[in-house]
């Protein structure tokens, strides 16, 4: 059971408590506000600029549908093609297995650098490596920041989006002791440094790590089946340095990252960068494993002495494949649904309790976490107003709200638990009243009279015992006439 990967699910604190705490954190709100509009405007501009954006999205959706529909065959094709070039392919059913494989590949090697990989967060890889005595350095700036802060990512694209510049400045001052004083702004150690200075400082720190690293671990944006190669997109170039500098490169990816061929990969690329950050493409795009490493057992790159390992993780994905939530496997992790979600932008990613947050997290987390006994994940699909903006922006047409509703339905059908009691009871009452319109009318009439009494001559009430969750923060407008429309309008149904 992938319990390890879920170790930072805190069962004592569910989404609700965490979201309330997040709302009360002004620094977090400020960071989220600032990041939010930037992403939205960039994405909008990127899609407005191209003429046929809807057909481009449709083509991407088609490519991802093809990949998921033929997932098993394409994965085997990928394996064959990679192995023919002397590339190793490892299959991991669970998070533990993936960690064990990677630890094994790092045996005898101490210094490890990493490019950004959400799957490595999913399996809690850093913790497993550190336990084995390795020294792990994240090289993506956002990941580096949260590694220093000992936190988890709050966004799949921008892991440190919850941090303000002032917080990052303080964090670097604390951890970077030997940074030259000249780099500290204008001889004033107290002044907050510009982003440029902060990036430069991190770059200096990370550069040494690249030079010394023995193993590099990166994620993959796509696994191209016909090539047996992994595609990686980054903005900082750190992914490529992580892949190229050390002798050994491990590419870690979920099995759903498979894509049939170059044409389909290109179709996805057209929407990925645009949806994520408004870029037509990331700054750096590389294919790993495109060239053979060996030919007839002869080492073609002796001088480089490179080896490449793909670690492909299931961790609940094949179960999703044969479930009602298969469409979720189309996800290309662009983050657009997070950026456009009013719940996400209100509370940030940490409230969701795991690496996947926002609308995609509300679907993925309960499904991937389902083998564990964690219950905090089950609240996630309920934390949506179903506004549908995520569905509108998803470049591969995932019906996120319908998938969330299906999870609610699954919850509803489960044997009665105390948690679901209120919902069950409310639904039972509704069913009864809807089936008996006259009883419904009677109950409504009584309810309206009670409201009128409580309002004491005003048009609203400020406290209603049964729904304090409403009246704690909002008045409840009432019907001053205390009669429903149906009861008061004369022209009623002639039956």
């Amino acid at each position: 059971m992938p319990l390890l990967s879920l170790s930072f699910f805190s069962s004592s604190q569910g989404f609700r408590q965490k979201s309330v705490a997040a709302l009360a954190n002004p620094t977090l709100r400020a960071a989220l506000d600032k990041a939010g509009t930037g992403f939205l405007n960039a994405r909008k501009k990127a899609f407005d600029e191209i003429e046929n954006s809807s057909s481009i999205k449709a083509r991407a959706q088609q490519a991802r549908t093809r990949a998921i529909d033929n997932m098993a065959e394409l994965l085997l094709l990928f394996e064959r093609n990679a192995q023919a070039k002397g590339i190793h392919v490892h299959w991991a059913e669970t998070a533990e297995q993936a960690c064990a494989i990677i630890i094994d590949l790092c045996r005898g090697k101490k210094r490890i650098i990493k490019g950004k990989s959400m799957v490595s967060e999913e399996i809690n890889l850093n913790e497993a490596l550190l336990k084995n005595g390795a020294e792990v350095t994240e090289t993506d700036l956002g990941e580096y920041i949260i590694q220093l802060a000992n936190e988890t990512p709050s966004h799949i694209i921008a892991p440190a989006v919850h941090k303000t510049r002032a917080q990052i400045d303080a964090l670097f001052r604390y951890h970077h002791e030997n940074i030259e004083e000249a780099k500290v702004a204008d001889n004033n150690p107290k002044a907050q440094r510009t982003s440029v200075l902060l990036v430069e400082e991190a770059r200096q720190k990370i550069r040494d790590k690249f030079l010394q690293a023995e193993v590099g671990i990166t994620g993959a944006n796509m696994l191209i089946a016909t090539r047996g190669a992994g595609l990686l997109l980054t903005n900082e170039g750190n992914g490529d340095l992580s892949a190229i500098m050390p002798q050994r490169h491990i590419m870690l990816a979920g099995i759903e990252k498979i894509i049939a061929d170059d044409g389909d990969a290109a179709a996805v690329l057209r929407v990925l960068g645009r949806s994520a950050s408004g870029q037509s493409l990331g700054n750096y795009m590389s294919l790993y494993g495109a060239q053979p490493l060996q030919d007839n057992g002869k080492d073609l790159h002796k001088d480089l002495h490179k080896d490449l390992h793909f670690v492909l993780l299931d961790n609940g994905r094949s179960k999703m494949h044969s479930s009602a939530w298969r469409e979720m496997l189309r996800c290309i992790r662009c983050g657009a649904c997070l950026n456009h979600c009013p719940v996400y932008t209100s509370v940030g990613g940490h409230a969701y309790g795991w690496v996947y947050s926002g609308p995609m997290g509300k679907v993925l987390t309960p499904l991937l976490a389902e083998t564990s006994k964690q219950t905090s994940a089950q609240e996630l699909p309920h934390a949506s107003s179903f506004c549908g903006r995520c569905v509108e922006v998803c470049p591969v047409g995932i019906p996120l709200t319908s998938l969330m509703r299906k999870l609610r339905e699954r919850d509803f059908e489960k044997p009665l638990q105390p948690r679901g009691l209120k919902t069950r009871l409310a639904c039972a009452v509704m069913r009864l009243l809807f089936a008996h319109p006259r009883l419904y009318r009677f109950v409504i009439a009584c309810f309206l009279r009670v409201l009128k009494l409580l309002a004491r001559g005003r048009g609203h009430i400020s406290y209603l015992p049964t729904i304090t969750a409403w009246t704690d923060t909002r008045d409840l407008p009432i019907n001053r006439s205390a009669r429903s429309a149906i009861a008061s309008i004369r022209t009623s149904y002639p039956r």
Binding site: S385, D472, S484
Partner: protein, 282 residues
């Protein structure tokens, strides 16, 4: 959209929606009057008294079977009409878009498809058929107002341009707010289950609405309006909220030039229709 015929003597019905029926009967009354006004021979629409709710609360709670039963009941009750006008984007979306998918594997699959074609979200209906009103008639509200887009009007019914066209055509001054496509945080049971987030979203929305400079907010979804008005009132903000039906019907009421005899107009037995327009929650 294919043009739906509402001519000769069609049988029009009004789906009151449980929220408007219970908490804002003026909206239902206004809707009936507006539909009547739109019909060629001034026919009063039918308001079936056995109606309750569209079943969305069940649907969104995960009670799929409960929602299916309710959908069948609604279709049984309203199926015989030619046009069903719904003064709520959210309920209209439920009847129009969600019923067919809910009922697809039931004996009602075909009925749901036919039913879907008869559903009109109010602003969509009025934008097409409310042609008899002249813009010269006195306005219920003289100051500028801003429009609150509900997510369902925006993303399910695509009717956001209808309300704007209607208000402008009638001579209302419309000031646009910012972040129009962002949800206000109502979301039915979400507003209670995740009250803190819902309230925070209401505050964000109120800020955007205030950015328009208008102090009057009109909308087509009572859920959003109750939520926003309730929040604004709690914070003692100078904002008034109205359903669009209430604003438009005042123009009919204000003009006595029409031939329709007072006795035949849809009127509640209470005196609310005689009172001046009272904002939601006031």
């Amino acid at each position: 959209m294919t043009a739906k015929k509402v001519n000769a003597s069609p049988k029009n019905a009004v789906f009151a929606t449980c929220l408007a029926d219970t908490l804002r009967p003026q909206v239902v009354e206004a809707t009936c009057n507006l539909v009547k006004h739109c019909s060629a021979d001034n026919l009063t629409p039918i308001l079936p008294s056995e109606q309750t709710c569209c079943g969305q609360p069940l649907y969104n709670s995960g009670d799929r079977n409960g929602a299916i039963k309710q959908a069948m009941r609604v279709i049984d009750l309203f199926g015989e009409f030619d046009a069903i006008v719904v003064p709520s984007g959210s309920c209209a979306g439920m009847l129009k878009w969600h019923y067919p998918s809910l009922l697809q594997d039931t004996p009602y699959a075909q009925k749901a498809k036919i039913f879907k074609e008869k559903i009109w979200e109010l602003t969509e209906f009025l934008a097409k058929f409310l042609t008899k009103l002249s813009a010269k008639k006195p306005l219920a509200i003289k100051s500028a107002l801003t429009w609150h887009d509900s997510c369902s009007c925006l993303r399910e019914n695509n009717s956001e341009s209808c309300a704007r066209a209607l208000l402008k055509r009638r001579g209302f001054t419309l000031r646009e707010s910012t972040n129009r496509e962002v949800c206000c945080g109502f979301g039915g049971k979400f507003s209670i289950r995740h009250s803190a987030i819902s309230t925070s979203m209401a505050d964000d929305k109120i800020k955007s609405l205030q950015a328009s400079g208008a102090s009057i907010v009109a909308g087509a979804d009572l859920g959003c309006l109750l939520h926003l008005a309730g929040r604004a009132r709690r914070r003692a903000l100078p904002l008034s909220f109205f359903h669009i039906a209430e604003l438009l019907v005042e123009q009919i009421n204000n003009s006595k030039s029409e031939k329709g005899s007072p006795a035949s107009s849809v009127k509640s037995q209470t005196k609310t229709s005689k009172q001046t327009l009272v904002p939601i929650g006031a």
